[in-house]
């Protein structure tokens, strides 16, 4: 991943607008946050392959950055984004890393579902 270039990310957000896309949205402070006294408790939430369609997506801020995607009936929001990549599969990956390179937040968009494992499913 590279440090976010706001104009390039904005172009990518525009390309994913107005169509059905798969969303990976995540925030975490790590499963051991409480054990290491880094935080009062471990907190994490993620959605993998939420199917959304946004009419307007913007990246703002002066770093770390924020992204808001305006849906017909709501919003997708992420704060603390520092790095980005448009990967070989054409997926837009945005993430926020702390000073030690640990991921704290991620917002990713893809035209195809992100891989998932699970009992009873074929290998990814």
């Amino acid at each position: 991943m590279q440090p976010i270039e706001i104009a390039a990310v904005q172009r990518a957000l525009d390309e994913f607008a107005q169509q059905d896309v798969y969303l990976h949205l995540e925030t975490t402070n790590g499963a051991y946050a409480a054990l290491r006294n880094e935080a009062p408790m471990a907190v994490c939430a993620y959605i993998r392959n939420g199917r959304i369609r946004y009419e307007r997506g913007r990246i703002t801020g002066s770093g770390p950055y924020r992204v808001g995607l305006k849906l017909a009936d709501g919003w997708v929001y992420a704060e603390g984004l520092t790095d980005w990549e448009l990967d070989a599969q054409g997926r837009l990956l945005l993430a926020g890393h702390d000073g030690e390179g640990r991921l704290a937040v991620a917002l990713q968009l893809s035209r195809h579902p992100f891989p998932v494992g699970g009992l009873g499913e074929a290998k990814r």
């Binding site: 975490t28 499963a31 994490c44 993430a95 991921l103 494992g117 009992l119």
Partner: protein, 225 residues
């Protein structure tokens, strides 16, 4: 009892190494075959290398490569990936999860199983998989049950569980253990960099680090009770 086969059952790449690589290396040096069940690829790990070289989508492939390298270093000849998803084990069907583990136990017939201590894993995946191990072992006839060498992660383990049943001096394989830790580069590089920075200021930091790594503690988990 003579150890004839050891089965490691852990949810994430690096669980088999951190805190346990010494015991594993001692087994394989004695010629004991070791099988590792790794349930996920640690897809949701936070560490992405320092400097960053992984992202959320490349992390599983990177961690699988790192795991295979750590297995090579430790002499683990048999790796079974379950391809479940990081952080989701506690939401899967308990019996279905136990089925997958029971099948491997019946196949390799281990005398020792290493896993996390049920209820003391801190990470929900650790506890869910350890519970599945207990469930699988309980299905075996009493005299065929392997001994479970369990690793707690909780800080108060000794106060709650009493002293460890096994205290291993792993100094003779410390280099192997460190090499296996470094093989999990995406997950340990940041820690090693921090250690080097601190050691540059105070050489005692490194001594302390290596002293801590030189001893491993295991509690025998009794499934019959």
């Amino acid at each position: 009892m003579n150890t004839k086969h050891v089965l490691l059952i852990f949810p994430h790449p690096d669980d088999e190494t951190l805190g346990k690589a010494g015991a594993v290396a001692l087994y394989t040096r004695q010629g004991v075959p070791v099988t590792l069940i790794c349930a996920t690829l640690g897809e949701m790990g936070r560490n992405m290398g320092r400097p960053l070289f992984a992202n959320r989508e490349t992390l599983p492939q990177i961690r699988e490569r790192e795991l295979r390298e750590a297995c090579r270093i430790l002499g683990i000849g048999d790796l079974r990936l379950l391809h479940l998803r990081d952080k989701t084990l506690e939401f899967e069907d308990e019996d279905a999860l136990a089925d997958r583990i029971e099948a491997v136990i019946r196949e390799v017939q281990p005398s020792v199983i290493m896993t996390y201590y049920p209820g003391h894993g801190v990470h929900p995946d650790h506890d869910a998989l350890a519970a599945a191990v207990v469930r699988a072992v309980r299905r075996l006839p009493r005299d065929e049950r392997p001994v479970i060498h369990a690793s707690p992660v909780t800080r108060n383990a000794e106060a709650v569980l009493g002293p460890p049943d096994i205290v291993l001096d792993v100094r003779s394989v410390l280099d192997v253990k460190l090499a296996a830790m470094r093989a999990h580069r995406s997950q340990t590089e940041g820690m090693f960099k921090r250690l080097e920075e601190e050691a540059a200021k105070d050489p005692k930091v490194k001594e302390e680090f290596e002293r801590n790594l030189s001893v491993e503690r295991y509690w025998i988990y009794r499934v019959d009770e």
